[in-house]
Amino acid sequence: MELFLAFAKMSLAGFGGVLVFARRAMVEKHRWMTAEEFNEAFALCHFLPGPNIVNLSVVFGSRFGGIPGAVAAFFGLVGPPAAIVTALAAIYAHYGQIDAIQRTLAGITCAAVGLFLAVIAKMMLPLLKQRDPVALVLLFAVFAAVGLLRLPLPAVLLVSIPISIALTAWIRTRGTA
């Protein structure tokens, strides 16, 4: 129950992503994890598929309370905002075609895309600093396949994941040999 409430609070506070709030609540306020534990759990959730923060709630909840803990954290995180979004969806379905709302939403979309680009830029910085040519080529190839050519994601991943893992493993073993 405590897990449910804590996750509900952090998800409702989190506009444009919950991560910052999750960190504050888990590490600073409740002291459920150290900063290192949080980073490690987040790194794990980051390379697993699916919504990161949802995965994080499940991993975290299960460490504290097994499967019931995972379920409580999950519903705390997703339940309340999903109810809000559903209400907004209903409003949109009724009034979405009104001109003033159309214009406002169009403006918000432009800003939201800008925020999104800023997040991507921040994520790319460490990769650019490493100057790892293999990683950059892979990055661009996936971008071109999905963004420019609009190929289906399953096909792109089916090809790119094995290639990337093979290259990375090969470079690593060569580096240590």
Partner: protein, 177 residues
């Protein structure tokens, strides 16, 4: 509105697959959501997809809730619930199992290789998301400028994103975008 069972099954299957393909987070799956929802299934127009992205960014909670909006648009409340559960469920189960395994064998080299291999792919997908969203949102020069300014401000400062979204909405309402 009572949705036909066939539609709900389609929604469940579509998002369950996407859940497992979204490496690096829900935002990586945006190109695939766009492709399926707009091009393949023709559930909505380009502009409606952009509106949903805006609403999902505007509401509190994890960004993955754009799938709740898409599900609702297609099949009402049941659609929203099915889409959300399908998008979060499979990857949450994977996260739960993997985190259990890792606690037992923390010494393995594989998680690190896997992570290094997947990071560039996931950022490539995010770039594709950014491109597709920008193409749907920024149809005028002013709109593109709003996106650019929002991106720069968000990148360079720690301003709460909600202010940028509000500013975008105001400009839109005023009919400038």
């Amino acid at each position: 509105m009572i949705a036909p069972v066939g539609t709900l099954v389609t929604i469940a299957w579509t998002f369950a697959l996407m859940s497992l393909l979204a490496i690096g987070g829900a935002n990586s799956a945006i190109p695939e959501m766009h492709r399926v929802a707009v091009d393949v299934r023709q559930w909505m127009t380009d502009a409606q997809f952009a509106d949903m992205f805006a609403i999902s960014q505007l509401s509190p909670g994890p960004n993955v809730l754009i799938v709740t909006l898409i599900g609702y648009h297609v099949a009402g409340i049941a659609g929203g619930l099915v889409a959300t559960a399908a998008m979060c469920g499979p990857s949450a189960i994977v996260a739960y199992i993997v985190s259990r395994r890792l606690q037992r064998s923390a010494q393995s080299e594989w998680p690190r290789i896997l992570q290094a291999a997947l990071v560039p792919l996931s950022i490539g997908l995010m770039c594709a998301s950014g491109l597709i969203l920008a193409q749907t949102a920024d149809r005028t020069v002013v709109a593109a400028a709003v996106t650019l300014v929002a991106a720069t401000v968000a990148f360079a400062s720690k301003l709460n994103p909600i202010w940028l979204l509000a500013a975008g909405g105001m400009l839109g309402l005023a009919g400038l975008v």
